[in-house]
Amino acid sequence: MFKYLFKRDTIFATMMVFAVMGLLALIPINTHVLDPIKMALQDFDYNDLAYSKFNKNANPSIDTSIVVVNIGEADRTAIASMIQSVSAAKPAVIGVDILFNEPKDSFSDSLLLTAFNTDNKIVLAYNLKVEDDQVSSSGFLYHNVASKGFANFVGEEGGSIRFVAPFYKSNDETYESFAAAVSQKAHPSAYDALKKRNKVTETVNYTRSAGDYIVVDGETILKDSNFNHTIFKNKVVLMGFISGSQYSLEDKHFTPLNKKSVGKTIPDMEGIFIHANIIQMVKNADYIKNSSAWINWMIAALLGWLHMSLFISYFIEKHIWFHLVAKIAQVLSAILFIYLGLLFYYKWDIRINLTPTFIAIILAVDVLYFYEAITAWLHKRFGYHSLFINAHHH
């Protein structure tokens, strides 16, 4: 295999693989139209397996820096009372992850508004609508609240939530996400670091599932006179809805933590816990690092070149075994590279995009035949010398 590594044909054939990849990328079509597997796996990411199958970040300690308050079915007056009660305990920030869609009654609405405006450490969520690059927002109350953040995540509609846009920029306006706005109040230096990263999106590093957060029932805060409010002191308090039923779909989303990575399943995590994971990620600067494009292409070139050398050796010397060896090499490489890719994600929070590598290895076999035909033509026309000229394998 290695004796062909530095041969001119190996290098040129490898270059041709990337040239073909470049040409294919130029065609602006979705080639997966008739590929049911690709269509089924449209919202699939191999890195999800690191969470769902290999327990990345499993068994962490309970997060005591964030306390989640479940508003349950409380009405606006009760929600306002909960906010006031929590606010009195001097938390670092109160993130209210509730969208108030319309005015209800002026009394409870004014109570809510008063609750929001008497404590400058309250952040209210709202819905940011982006339609054809036009940004609008919907809801009630948030207009009159000083600190607010959009609660939208980034992902396919109804798909798995893997990304968040900490700041969304449109027409010279910058909109802040709910998690970023909460972080600004609770962890200003971490917030500055997030801003400095200047990323369009961040991959959410899920460190905890819903069960790993302290959840307090809002009704208990109001009704239990023995309730110890010091639990909120200097903590990030997130108020939202948590259903008691695993079959409830209210504010529930799919995440990579879902035990079923592919196919039909039910959403596994409430929005408030996704925000909690993002806030925790920002606080600890525990970001997922994406390998840069040049590294991805370097890996693709290197591994494509090694495979081409192997393929050429069998193509010329043991052609009868060529296709079998090529297929086995492709399968084994896929298994190995997925393992390595997941390992980097699992251990060091690094996402490596191995798609160019896979495509290069898959295309190598077909391009090799094409390259052989080209060299035969060049030899006939210009006397070009190639390893394939005297190989008799057909």
Binding site: P28, D75, L99, N101, K104, G155, T201
Partner: protein, 292 residues
């Protein structure tokens, strides 16, 4: 060949012109209007060649062509009827053409990446929603306490076409005790709706013909005597200030206790006694909106 197509098309358009009415509105959801008219479109409205249909955000319209074909529009925008009419004469596609159209559409539909263009992938909202926007009431309340002879008028606006106001004995489930047809923008005299009911606790709501609705609102009907008694009890210890201030305080206290009909009387009284007071005026207009 081209000439024949052009001729046929102009012939069809000519015949359409002769009929004049191009579409009849069959179903409307949300806010849609046509040019030269501020009226919101409703079922049965006629659209002519010169019209332009204006579809607002989250609206949809189903139109019937004069050859009985149906066209559905659900994307925000302005639609010229002269252009839309051409869709009425399109023949339905065959299996083969539908298949290749599907393949072509899929081929040319490039899927973007969420991490590169997040704006296209921000439909998932990680927050619980509270409140329903299908019906907007001029008096923002989900709880009302009323006397049996109340004349309280509540204004509302709804996107439901052919809706009705209904009174139920239960918060969830159960058949309506009373039903009354309402229009898209309307007001309802809640006392008239409940006049046949005996004092007690009921639930009311505006419901679309297809059953779509927001959650039910609580209503407590009091016997007239009891009602007067509770109002007097609530107001008896109120400290007396200037007449306008006292009226305003009464209104606030009654609103807090959901006696909205009485609260409205006192808010109006406060404004009448001191028309220059901005707080009174703002309180009245936010408590009782008549233009929605």
């Amino acid at each position: 060949m081209k000439f024949i197509y052009v001729f046929l098309l102009s012939f069809l358009l000519q015949s359409v012109n002769a009929n004049d009415i191009s579409f009849i509105v069959y179903h409307v959801k949300g806010n849609s209007t046509k040019t030269n008219s501020k009226q919101i479109l409703k079922k049965g409205d006629q659209l002519f060649l010169k019209d332009v249909l204006i579809l607002k955000d989250a609206s949809s319209v189903v139109l019937i062509c004069n050859n009985y074909k149906i066209i559905q529009l659900n994307k925000k925008g302005n639609y010229s009827i002269a252009t839309l009419i051409q869709q009425c004469f399109k023949t339905s596609a065959s299996y083969s053409s539908s298949y290749f159209k599907y393949v072509w559409n899929e081929l040319t539909h490039t899927v973007g990446k969420p991490e590169k263009k997040p704006g296209d992938f921000m439909k998932n909202v990680g927050a619980v929603s509270r409140g329903c926007t299908d019906v907007v009431y001029g008096m923002h309340t989900d709880t009302i306490q009323l006397s049996t002879n109340s004349k309280l008028l509540i204004h509302f606006k709804t996107f439901y076409n052919n809706g009705y106001a209904a009174i139920y004995p239960e918060l969830y489930e159960g058949a309506a005790l009373i039903k009354q047809k309402v229009n898209l923008t309307d007001s309802i005299q809640i006392g008239t709706l409940t006049k046949t009911l005996t004092p007690g606790i009921y639930y009311w709501q505006i419901v679309a013909e297809d059953g779509t609705s927001c959650e039910r609102n609580y209503i407590k009907i009091w016997d007239q005597k009891e009602y007067k008694k509770i109002i007097s009890f609530l107001l008896k210890d109120l400290p007396v200030s200037t007449p306008a201030e006292t009226a305003f305080a009464k209104a606030f206290l009654l609103e807090e206790n959901k006696f909205n009909a009485e609260a409205l009387i006192w808010y109006k009284k406060a404004v009448q006694l001191n028309p220059s007071n901005q707080t009174y005026q703002q309180s009245l207009s936010s408590f009782y909106e008549t233009k929605l």
